[in-house]
Amino acid sequence: MTVAEVVFYLLALLSVIAAVGVVTVPNVVHAALFLILSLLGVAGFYILLSSEFLALVQVLIYGGAVATIILFGLMLTGGRDLPAVGPGAQWPLALLVSGALVVLLLTAVLNTTWPRDAGEMTLISINTLGSVLFREWLLPFELASLVLLVALIGAVVISSQEERES
């Protein structure tokens, strides 16, 4: 086994077990922290798949911002005192659906002949990514920034409604 394979299996174990942890732990805050662990594992996959920039973006956005937002949200909405944290009434149905999905996806993945490894891929430099993003994907990029702006304003408006009325 090469080093890359060992790292891959470790990361796979980490992120899948952490994801299972999100499902199984009764406490929501623990679930959120397991989610962060899983997402950081995915960041490790990005490094392994030679896209360091995305790995760092993942750490910055999920490890820093989204994690804080989720934990913050849990605290503002009850946190530890939250009574109902267990699975809802439809969990058997959910298990059935996601179980069927995983069987379907795995059979599809394992029975398809994928194009073989493209060999040693030349590392995509951050400069290339930047110029592609700002030249060929300029319009989607601007749209994405618009989405972010709308989300920002929307979040502020929605969450400050109460204060305005009182």
């Binding site: 360091e52 920039f53 910055l60 820093g64 994690a67 804080t68 605290m75 946190g79 530890r80």
Partner: protein, 388 residues
């Protein structure tokens, strides 16, 4: 000059062994630096407050940090009965590990860091953002109102001030055209970035103070408000991990980063001429040491002389002053770098625009913070009374 230190021993290094030794060196240097910094801060703040600072342990109190460490390590290890065991135990490490990881990408001398990353600057900013999870974990796990308040405050503060920090770093990387720390340093052989980009330099200093929760931004851990914030319940060895290692290693790391990115690091003012041959690393080390010491002392001076901000002032300062000016700087940098080709005019334009923005920011801050005139205050009081 690659691997001067190891090359001196004449050992053929295995990659893993090399990485391991570099890590060990960083750990040792970090520990010594942290102990020295604690002593320096106590002495420095003492002098500012017309005290002597620690004097009893060792000559001029130099062994104070050692005594403190021994005391902290032998203290009883307390944990509240209602605390969440795993989160409480893990939180100090979650705050410390990201700070330590930022140290791994810093080139302390030419070609000498643990790893020279192509995206080093971005890596440092991204990884240091993870610290906030540790604060929230500690605050939540302690099962203490003050700790939870402190955790929510620190989450708000650290996330907010991360944005100006990123903007400042981004402005410099635009000028350098690279995110690699070595490239950025090598670019500053004649003019350090602090001259070209004074506004981002100031933003970086401010945001660093806020990210490290130092006074005047110590709202999350303010002793007189939330009695230590997320760390109320911590004591002994865990507290020393948080306080000593995380806080001072973070201060050291950010100061070194500032000295490398803005003050020219080991490149300015002598350049990498190599007039000492194999011992170039000595004066490079001295340069980085002097510059980072200057930054650390500046931050300590600010910490010691400014009163703590209120939470609304803190947020307003970040979102209404630092952030807009940071964005403005980036837009202007883009225009200047796009349309000015000649090196000289480019540098002059960068200095002029950034300096003008700095003056504008100072003026806006002055307008926002000055005491309203007596007439205005009376008018406000009258208006408030008429509403009642």
């Amino acid at each position: 000059m690659a691997l001067v230190l190891w090359g001196l021993f004449g050992v053929d290094m295995n990659v893993w062994l090399d990485a391991f030794l570099r890590l060990q060196l960083i750990v040792i240097v970090m520990t010594v630096t942290v102990m020295a910094l604690i002593y320096v801060e106590r002495k420095f703040v003492g002098r500012i407050q017309m005290r002597l600072g620690p004097m009893r342990t060792g000559p001029y109190g130099t062994l104070q940090s050692v005594a403190d460490a021994v005391k902290l390590l032998t203290k009883e290890d307390l944990r509240p009965a209602t605390a969440d065991f795993w989160l409480f135990e893990l939180a100090p490490y979650v705050t410390f590990v990201p700070v330590f990881m930022t140290l791994l990408a810093l080139p302390f001398m030419e070609d000498w860091g643990v790893r020279d990353l192509q995206l080093g600057l971005f890596y440092i900013v991204a990884v240091s953002g993870v610290t906030v999870i540790g604060y929230i974990m500690a605050g939540w796990a302690s099962d203490n109102k003050y700790a939870l308040l402190g955790a929510v405050r620190s989450a708000a503060q650290l996330i907010s001030y991360e944005i100006p920090l990123i903007l400042a770093v981004l402005a410099v990387s635009m000028v350098a055209g690279s995110l690699n720390l070595n490239d950025i340093i090598l670019q500053q052989d004649t003019i350090p970035n602090a001259l070209l980009q004074p506004l981002p330099f100031l933003i970086l200093l401010t945001a660093t103070l806020a990210e490290l929760s130092r006074r005047p931004f110590d709202i999350p851990i303010g002793e007189s408000e939330v009695v230590g914030g997320p760390w109320v319940e911590y004591s002994g060895i865990r507290w020393s991990i948080i306080f000593a290692l995380t806080e001072y290693a973070g201060l050291w790391g950010m100061a070194v980063l500032g000295s490398l990115v803005f003050l020219g690091g080991w490149e300015f003012p002598f350049g990498t001429s190599g007039f000492w041959g194999d011992f170039d690393f000595l004066y490079q080390m001295a340069l980085v040491f002097a510059k980072s010491s200057f930054l650390i002392l500046t931050m300590m001076l600010i910490s010691a002389t400014f009163p703590r901000l209120r939470i609304d002032q803190l947020m307003a300062f970040c979102w209404k002053i630092l952030l807009p000016f940071g964005f403005l700087q980036i837009v202007i940098n883009g225009i200047v770098l796009m349309y000015l080709d000649s090196e000289v005019t480019r540098d002059i334009a960068l200095f002029a625009t950034s300096g003008a923005l700095l003056v504008a920011m100072a003026y806006v801050t002055y307008l926002a913070t000055r005491q309203p005139s007596r007439e205005a205050r009376v008018a406000a009081m009258v208006a408030a009374r008429s509403i009642q």
